[in-house]
């Protein structure tokens, strides 16, 4: 089962490169801490998932690179080709000259329709190369113009064209102190549009990644490539092949088969909803958690803590909400590693902050003329605000 990756914008392309690099390096890591046969099965599975085979033996990443200005894609393509270990397809890159100017409206309303056909064609070609498609992995940032605007447009198109495949968007939450002044506008517009068309949003905050680099890894001068490498490492440990919980002897077929779509509670259960308030305001309630363990002694790991029903909402049994995937093959060079993917209230605070800041800017109508120039009217903004407020409220009530 293969995943087709779509990398959008400067951020998306820079990260995409690091992700493929991490995946490749891990799958060709000599010490897997498991039997040779196991290792080979792992490698084959990883290869099938993310790379396709080319005549001269160099694996080609199953990826489409999209950007509205050529500098970053050129850099990415050449870095991959120079490494000699893997590369991007020659024709899998789409770029224009002028960029989106950090303007969501430009990315969505101008570049989107203009280049819809070319981009979807490229994606189609990648899809045709796969034996069986399990889904799309779309990497983008929320603060810029191309990643956010064009990314939302592309995701919508994928929803229309490939409604049966899963779409998972990897979005990068910008620094709180700001990278781009209109990042709050771009973020809320992106989130509201993605909410309607994407199946899952995997969120990484630049702030958090920065902190990891500073505190846990003790890097003094943190550069974007350090941050991207941390991110790629995390993603790699989640997406590499694992066994499913049923313990079948083949590697899990569908890597994106995480049941994110948990049904919301019926309206006739108000008392249960109130019970959760007793847990205290700072307690982080989860809707669903997924733990991925790799390396030695995976089978004897104690995951009792995750099964505590206090962690989960009252309308879901811990058994349904918690999943474990294990594999004995170690990731990268770590003897043991664990990754946690969780759908919980963690996102509440950043989301609330961004919506608040965007609202403040909107109240004074700052920068709105830049968006209305390209067809995004004030109603669109108001719609986005409403949708996101609803999301915030639903998460609060978990």
């Amino acid at each position: 089962m293969s995943i087709v990756t779509v990398q959008l914008g400067q951020c998306g392309n820079q990260i995409g490169f690091e992700v493929f690099d991490a995946l490749y390096t891990d799958s060709h890591c000599p010490q897997g801490l498991c039997s040779k046969r196991e290792n080979e099965a792992y490698q084959a599975s990883c290869k099938e998932r993310f790379f396709s085979e080319e005549e001269n033996g160099v694996p080609v990443a199953r990826a489409v690179l999209v950007d509205m200005e050529p500098k970053v894609t050129n850099q990415t393509l050449s870095k991959a080709a120079q490494s000699g270990r893997w590369k991007y397809g020659q024709h899998s890159c789409f770029c224009q000259k002028q960029g989106s100017g950090n303007n969501w409206a430009y990315g969505y309303s101008v570049h989107g329709p203009r280049h819809e056909e070319s981009i979807m064609n490229l994606i189609q070609k990648e899809v045709e190369k796969c034996d069986s498609l399990s889904g799309f992995f779309i990497i983008m940032s929320m603060a810029g113009g191309t990643g956010s605007g064009l990314g939302a447009f592309v995701t919508q198109n994928l929803q229309d064209q490939y409604s049966n495949s899963l779409k998972m968007n990897q979005i990068i939450w910008p620094y709180g102190t700001g990278e781009v002044i209109v990042q709050n506008y771009n973020s809320i517009l992106t989130l509201s549009h993605l909410y309607r068309s994407s199946d899952a949003l995997l969120v990484h905050e630049n702030d958090a990644l920065h902190k990891i680099c500073a505190k846990l890894m003790n890097i003094k001068q943190i550069s974007f490539s350090d941050i991207n490498q941390v991110l790629a490492h995390q993603l790699g440990s989640v997406f590499q092949p694992t066994y499913s919980v049923e313990g079948s002897c083949h590697y899990r077929r569908n890597p994106l088969g995480i049941d994110w779509q948990v049904r919301p509670p019926l309206s006739g259960l108000p008392t249960l909803g109130k019970a959760s308030l007793n847990r205290g305001l700072h307690f982080n309630m989860s809707i669903a958690n997924l733990v991925i363990l790799r390396g030695k002694d995976v089978h004897s790991a104690d995951l009792g803590g995750f099964k505590d029903s206090a962690l989960y909402t009252s309308w879901l049994e811990p058994i349904n909400a918690f999943n474990v995937w294990k594999t004995q093959r170690a990731f990268s060079k770590y003897e043991k590693s664990a990754a946690l993917v969780s759908n919980s209230q963690f996102l509440l605070k950043p989301l609330d902050t961004i919506v608040g800041k965007a609202w403040n800017m909107f109240a004074s109508k700052a920068y709105i003329h830049q968006y209305t120039k390209f067809g995004i009217e004030e109603e669109d903004f108001l719609d986005s605000f409403t949708l996101l407020e609803q999301v915030v409220a639903s998460y609060c009530n978990v």
Binding site: E69, G99, T177, E179, I181, Q221, F224, H369
Partner: protein
């Protein structure tokens, strides 16, 4: 990669423009060792095979044959333009890119705007169209002029309306030199406000600069360099003010150092669009982020460091000092004190060996003053 066309109007505009082209050539020469005509150079220069007669002969790739600036030089008296054409930069400009007259505008906005405007409208349009045709993807017009005179002020602003009608999608970045307190032109206040009205309506972004601030900056540099307090870490000749290695060594003109500062500003502004970096900021992003309301498009600019450090790997403390300096009013190119009023938006463009962590650390320090601040980050060391 996108291209930009520079339009220099009037005496001031042309003199600054001359410094700009000189610096641009040297910057690209330093970066581009192999002499290949790459995308970075193509943003300001055309590669032309001079053996081909006529208008053709543009080469888009390969070795550099002869570089021609993407510029249009306009002046209503011939002195300044002739001097440029006799100087070392004569090969960079095409005779077809000039528009000159003989008598000048007499420091009268009305003459520049109305009389010469209508007289030369067709010619100007034609030259602009020509230069636009030579561009693959034209992103921006840079207009350099002064506000106090006649040609720069009058004809320069007449141009803006033309550009807006003819090329509505192309950004118009205007570098205007405002008259300072002790200005030698008596009618400069009239010229300036008449020009301001046009700038308000037709420019996308204006970078106001005034001579007094430039002069203060120069004095500061001279003071620092001559006092010898900085020791061996500072190179004696500041790159910002001098054209080390040679444009005119016959006699340093009085405005040279000041013009160099402005030229540096323009180069740095466009550096993220021309060179690679880890977080690029294009010209349309500058306009998008810094212009919250259509008429509030006046940007105060400041440059640091003003003197060239001999050691390229700058220790953190000095780096932090650079950030503080960027916000201090002594480093600004116009007399204004934002700290006592309100910042609407700021952008920091950083060139060289600076990492994201340094930027963030410094932004957090300034968080008290700033609520919104976008970053751009470009890797090429100037």
């Amino acid at each position: 990669m996108t291209q930009s066309v520079v339009v220099q109007v009037g005496q001031c505009g042309n003199q600054i423009g001359c410094c700009f082209w000189d610096l641009a050539l040297r910057e690209h020469a330093a970066v581009n060792q192999k002499g290949i005509y790459d995308e970075a150079i193509s943003s300001f220069f055309r590669n032309v095979d001079t053996r081909v007669v006529g208008d053709g002969g543009s080469i888009s790739k390969g070795k550099i044959c002869s570089l021609k600036a993407r510029a249009v030089l306009i002046d209503m008296e011939e002195g300044v333009v002739n001097e440029i054409l006799q100087g070392p930069l004569r090969d960079v400009f095409d005779s077809k890119q000039l528009i000159t007259d003989i008598s000048g505008s007499g420091n009268n906005w009305a003459v520049g705007h109305k009389v010469f405007g209508s007289l030369y409208q067709e010619q100007i349009l034609e030259k602009l169209r020509k230069s636009a045709e030579h561009c693959d993807c034209l992103q921006c017009f840079f207009i350099i002029h002064s506000m106090g005179g006649g040609t720069g002020s009058g004809l320069g602003t007449f141009l803006l309306k033309l550009l807006e009608d003819e090329f509505p999608e192309v950004y118009r970045f205007v570098t205007s030199v405002y008259p300072s307190g002790e200005d030698d032109v008596i009618t400069s206040p009239y010229n300036s406000i008449l020009a301001m009205k046009e700038l308000n309506e037709h420019a996308d972004c204006v970078l106001p600069i005034d001579n007094q601030s430039l002069f203060d900056i120069i004095s500061k540099i001279d003071l620092m360099v001559n006092s010898g307090k900085l020791g061996t870490t500072i190179k004696p000749k500041s790159l910002v003010t001098s054209s080390a290695g040679a444009v005119k060594k016959r006699h340093q003109k009085p405005f040279d150092a000041m013009n160099n500062i402005v030229a540096n500003l323009l180069l740095n502004l466009t550096s993220s669009a021309r060179f690679e970096g880890s977080l690029n900021m294009d010209l349309n992003e500058i306009s998008m982020n810094l212009v919250p309301f259509p008429q509030l498009h006046y940007l105060v600019s400041s440059l640091t460091p003003l003197y060239t450090l001999a050691d390229v790997n700058i220790p953190t403390r000095r780096l932090d000092q650079m950030f503080s300096d960027a916000f201090s009013k002594d480093h600004q190119l116009i007399r204004a004190d934002p700290k006592h009023s309100l910042y609407l938006a700021c952008a920091l463009m950083v060139r060289g060996n600076v990492q994201v962590s340094d930027l963030r650390r410094n932004i957090e320090r300034f968080n008290v003053l700033l609520t919104k601040c976008p970053l751009a980050h470009c890797q090429t060391v100037p």
